[in-house]
């Protein structure tokens, strides 16, 4: 009798492995090299494929899914152009530490290196834009590689992992055996538990502070919702002020009186001055990005700095810190709370009171103020009204990149983590719409809004077709100023008002465009009709594009000009920089 042939192909085996990883949806786009996988997906009904209209969008959708659920997002694209189109999304996920597993098709192993049709050196191209990548050369290694990839994507500092799959590997037969225990990488074990001695030192520094500030970021989000609860608990125990990075919004309730708003280039006056004047800086899960620090030599010059991060390479990269602590934000917070409670330290209440008085003085400048008239809608006003109408609903926000993104960060308030999806590190225009689709897939009943600019939305506008196809009731709220607003703002402030190529000369009629794609299109240009338009948008259980025509020349303030320090902010149009932007500053982006 002949030995029995293995029952499953590599593609079937892959789908089984994905199901075992509790994958709920695969965001992708088919093509020659991945036809066996699409065939396997077709023959089962546990794992639905989700078809986008561009591979970049597929990765962003997986990111939106991952960020709003805390799970690993899965992408499936074909070889060659499928893989190269995914590169922007992968880089985005790497910069923002989003767990994604991206399956790429590849030409059969015997053709690799032959410049075959739709061949690209995918592992070579994606090596610098992934946390790790694999080329699977034999079907026998496929299942293990898939499980290991999920482990790598979600462990430590999360990130994107690519698995390149030659077509013959997908066609060859091999039996799938589910792992009896969770698969790990053989040596990759990031440190999640912080050293106790350092936690104790941190408590000493924190308790002795006279002008402390917490500065927390995406690491708290990535640690899971419990970390945000612990953060709030610890911040309340201490009574200290806290600011969030763009990536960290939602890790501390925005409505809490200890919250100073976002910090950084377009952060609040009070947050940035607290950073500048503090004597103890407690960084949890943030990375001293250049958008946060401004001029490095004048960054928080008087403080002792504690930095808790799961990635040792984030520590002492840009800013030298006094007390580095390697570990997961949630674990560290748990320990901090435990030691604090055990020691019951006496803080300097008098100094803290004076610190809050100082902070309240800065708050009193009301740095986000703007003037709304009866004629033109100010973008800030549009977002304030938007927030008014959504705040009591279960909602998620994504954004594109530019002025609207910063205004959204300033004017929308986030009370919980995983509700705010924006491209922080890479600054990818075109992120918001596909990300919103990923969020909507994960949360079908929730209100999902992409706050967009008219320039960014054009970068992945084809996804309106996806939205229509799957009847996703995503809302696209365009703040249309007919400019690439942030480019225009920098040209005004740094390049003598020479608006080179930043005016959108030939915009489509967004209402007709929406209708052409089978969505609802709305337009509003009068402040008095804005509320009505927003209500209509929310009321329709279909995809809606809202074209809000806003003031064309409004700038985003406050602003730390390039190369300037935190205490050198521009608060509004009437505020001139203390000194012209330095040559050093002009070079910065």
């Amino acid at each position: 009798m002949k030995p029995e042939e293995p029952a499953t192909t590599g593609a079937d085996l892959l789908v089984k492995a994905l199901i075992d990883e509790e994958v709920e949806v695969v965001f992708g786009y088919p093509g020659g090299a991945v036809l066996p996988i699409y065939d396997s997906l077709f023959k089962q009904n546990r794992l639905p494929p989700f078809l986008l209209h561009h591979e970049q969008a597929a990765v962003h959708a997986a990111e939106g899914y991952a960020r709003s659920t805390g799970k690993v997002g899965v992408v499936l694209v074909t070889s060659g152009p499928g893989a190269t189109n995914a590169v922007t999304g992968l880089t985005d996920a790497l910069m923002d530490s989003i767990p994604v597993v991206c399956l790429t098709g590849q030409v059969p192993t015997h053709l690799i290196g032959n410049d075959a049709f739709q061949e690209a050196d995918t592992t070579g191209i994606t090596r610098p834009c992934t946390k790790h990548n694999y080329l699977v050369k034999a079907v026998s290694a496929l299942a293990r590689t898939v499980h290991e990839a999920f482990y790598v994507a979600r462990s430590g500092r999360p990130g994107p992992v690519v698995i390149d799959l030659p077509k013959d590997v997908l066609m060859n037969k091999y039996d799938y055996v589910a792992p009896d225990k969770p698969v790990q990488h053989k040596s990759y074990r990031p440190q999640v538990k912080p050293e106790l001695a350092r936690i104790e030192q941190a408590i000493e520094l924190i308790a002795g502070a006279k002008k402390p500030v917490f500065y927390t970021g995406g690491g708290v989000v990535n640690s899971g919702p419990k970390a945000s609860k612990l953060l709030a608990q610890f911040v309340h125990l201490t009574g200290y002020p806290i600011t969030n990075t763009l990536m960290g919004l939602g890790t501390f309730p925005a409505s809490d009186k200890q919250f100073l708003g976002m910090l950084g280039m377009h952060g609040t006056y009070e947050a940035n001055l607290a950073m500048y004047h503090c004597d103890v800086l407690i960084n949890i899960g943030a990375r001293f990005d250049d958008r946060i620090t401004g001029k490095l030599t004048e960054f928080s010059p008087h403080s002792k700095k504690i930095h808790i991060d799961i990635d040792p390479s984030s520590i002492n990269k840009n800013v030298r810190v006094d007390l580095p602590i390697v570990g997961d934000a949630g674990h560290a917070l748990q320990e901090l709370i435990r030691v604090w409670k055990a020691r019951q330290p006496r803080t300097d209440l008098k100094a803290l009171k004076a610190w809050w008085v100082e902070i309240d003085g800065w708050r009193g400048r009301n740095c986000l103020a703007y003037k709304q008239d009866n004629e033109t809608i100010k973008p800030q006003y549009a977002l304030e009204r938007l927030y008014h109408h959504i705040k009591d609903r279960d909602h998620y926000i994504t954004t594109e990149v530019g002025q609207h993104q910063m205004w959204a960060a300033q004017f929308l308030k986030f009370e919980q983590p995983n509700r705010w999806m924006t491209s922080g590190g890479l600054g990818t225009m075109g992120y918001g719409l596909p990300a919103a689709m990923g969020v909507q897939i994960a949360h079908p009943e929730a209100l999902v809004i992409d706050v967009a600019g008219e320039a960014s939305i054009m970068m992945n506008i084809q996804e309106l077709s996806t939205v229509a196809q799957y009847r996703l009731p995503v809302k696209i709220f365009i703040l249309n100023n007919q400019y690439m607003g942030m480019v225009r703002q920098w040209q005004e402030l740094l390049h003598g008002g020479r608006y080179s190529e930043s005016y959108m000369e030939s915009l489509p009629d967004f209402v007709k465009l929406a209708e052409a794609f089978g969505a609802v299109g709305l337009r509003c240009h009068e402040p008095a009709k804005l509320d009505e338009t927003i209500k209509e948008m929310i009321g329709v259980n279909r995809p809606v594009v809202v074209d809000v025509l806003v003031d064309k020349t409004e700038n985003c303030f406050p602003m730390i000009p390039s190369g300037a320090a935190h205490n050198d902010m521009l608060l509004g149009p009437d505020d001139k920089a203390a000194k012209p932007t330095s040559e050093e500053g002009m070079v910065l982006v």
Binding site: R127, H185, D311, N316
Partner: protein, 170 residues
């Protein structure tokens, strides 16, 4: 200049999984982040465990060197990163093959110097030698320099391999 601005050379040993692309990963990290590689050697050192050892000589301020080590350490297939320059005494060796062409006095002088440097003749023709010289980089460099005046035509160097002194493994 404060000590934090002082640029120094460091010899770093890295133990990695011997898998396709690992060298590209390490080298790409250096080029992508703008670090220098002064010397790099790599070969499989443990066939059973499928491990390779990479020895990198790089240059930077203390903050940059710390970054390089942290960046190397977070590559998934990297098992261990050790900075031999700061972690106690260590030894470094390099091997060079040096081809010298000439006749008469120059040829005799080349042979005499090779003897002084304990270089071995591994190929000889009537008008040429190939020497094999090992030692630290200074010694190898000095020998190559001396040969320049004596008909040097070709040099191949392995780059530095290094190891800590004493009984401890990497």
């Amino acid at each position: 200049m404060s000590p934090s601005d002082l640029v120094a050379s460091h010899t770093i040993s890295v133990l990695v999984d011997n898998e396709p692309g690992i060298l590209a990963r390490v080298v790409g990290l250096f080029s992508g982040r703008g670090y220098n590689i002064e010397s790099l050697t790599v070969a499989e050192t443990d066939a059973k465990e499928n491990l390779s050892r990479i020895t990198i000589v790089t240059k930077g301020t203390p903050m940059i060197i710390e970054q390089i080590k942290a960046q190397l350490d977070r590559l998934v297939p990297v098992h261990r990163v050790r900075d031999l320059t700061v972690e106690g005494p260590h030894i470094e060796r390099e091997l060079a093959l040096v081809k010298v062409r000439g006749t008469g006095d120059k040829r005799v002088e080349a042979l005499r110097l090779a003897d002084v440097f304990r270089a071995k003749v591994i190929d000889a023709k009537t008008d040429s030698f190939v020497f094999e010289v090992t030692g630290n980089s200074d010694k190898v460099q000095t020998f190559v320099g001396l040969m320049e005046g004596l008909g040097l035509v070709d040099v191949g160097r392995t780059g530095i391999v290094a190891m800590s002194r004493g009984g401890e493994a990497l």
